[in-house]
Subunit: 176 residues, 3 copies
């Protein structure tokens, strides 16, 4: 069974400067460990809110390190330094608007400010890139909402077959 490589990119000026610990990236790794029963390997980086750095990190993780999936956390709000969606769109060949729509709809059940989240997702070559919010609680809500569609998406791009702990998350694969 092929080991899936999954990129986790924390985008945060303060975490990358060591001002505080990266709780968000670690929360994503923990969640993926709970979800996945098939072998996977994280490729993890903490970088500042610089569009050029985000773009080059996403390119390296997809093209060189062959991550089938890359998830980012942080940099999706309206503050001046928030440019993760712009970097994502710049490196993707094709966009996946349904991920952002569903994550915002999901977060709206909890907070009215969910509409300030500019999260998107897209495809670069054989890789799926998904922006997640910055806060651990919202990360989990959003991942729980969109992850059921991720294994089949990666199948369609001929990537590794992801298997999940169905007591935690139920991936959906249509019957042929």
């Amino acid at each position: 069974m092929t080991t899936a490589k999954i990129g986790i990119v924390t985008v945060s000026d303060r975490a990358s400067a060591g001002v505080y610990d990266d709780v968000s990236g670690k929360a994503i790794i923990e969640t993926l460990n709970e979800y996945l029963t098939s072998p996977w390997e994280p490729v993890y980086e903490v970088i500042p809110d610089e569009q050029a750095v985000i773009e080059s990190t996403l390119i390296k993780m997809t093209d060189e390190q062959q991550c089938s999936l890359v998830v980012t956390t942080g940099g999706t709000g309206p503050a001046k330094r928030d440019v993760t969606p712009e970097a994502t769109e710049a490196v993707c060949d094709r966009m996946m608007p349904g991920f952002g729509e569903l994550m915002r709809a999901e977060s709206l059940k909890f907070v009215a400010t969910a509409i300030l989240s500019r999260q998107t997702a897209g495809l670069r070559g054989d890789s799926l890139i998904i922006n997640l919010p910055g806060k651990p609680k919202s990360i989990r809500e959003c991942l729980d909402a969109v992850f059921p569609a991720v294994p089949y998406c990666i199948d369609l791009m001929e990537g590794p077959y992801l298997e999940c702990n169905e007591e935690v998350i139920k991936p959906f694969r249509p019957k042929k």
Copy 2:
């Protein structure tokens, strides 16, 4: 009463190569026959998943053949050859994000993988172009969701007045 011209474009490498029959395009024609009581004429093509071919077909159907509405089926997923939304955006002057949003929200009631659908819609000159999914069951679900808004959209673009069988589909036209 003016006869409306409606383009139906099946985008599929295999159907266009004759590997299998085009069930999807025919399902759309059948559905429109059920919906519409005013006169209409289909302009129907089956083409491969080539962005340039999709674009030239959409341009021909809108500019030359004067279709007020063009619906596509197929090519909206994340697989490498799926480029129908990109071709649609390339030929449209103005986009209509509400169609894709509603179709995905509607399909999400049935399958978690609805968010993988990259469907969009847009306007080219006096024509409305709508991407539908590839599977006949999803096509009907999506058309039932968005079609009530189509006749008024075409009114606003000064196209032919579409009348529907209101036992099948209820078009909405705001009172002046």
Copy 3:
């Protein structure tokens, strides 16, 4: 307490030519007066559906007149002269897709033609620009839906602190 400047732009060929009175822009000002208890000052213009004029008005209100928030009304449908979303996107650095999504979802509760609304929102420098629909009834529905997120958005852009009459509208600010 800093006085917030809020731009209100009515985009309408007929209202700007004096063919009829601008009910929509006035309805927005009235609604904001009901919402806000902190000091604010409207910057109000009625202009035709010309993309270049809309763009220059938005640039003037944000860059020169320092409006923290600019709301437009009109020009978001599929009719040929409707180009407000295109003008908005052209002047914004970063887009806010959640506003359009929520406004359409909200309007869909009332009318099937809500999906014809091409409304968007985005950021230009320190300013938030939001497209609203043209009809007073829809304006209020849409503002009631999205405004709870606006004060926090402006906080994040380091603009003036907006206070609301919480019996009319409840702004949401996450606890730190």
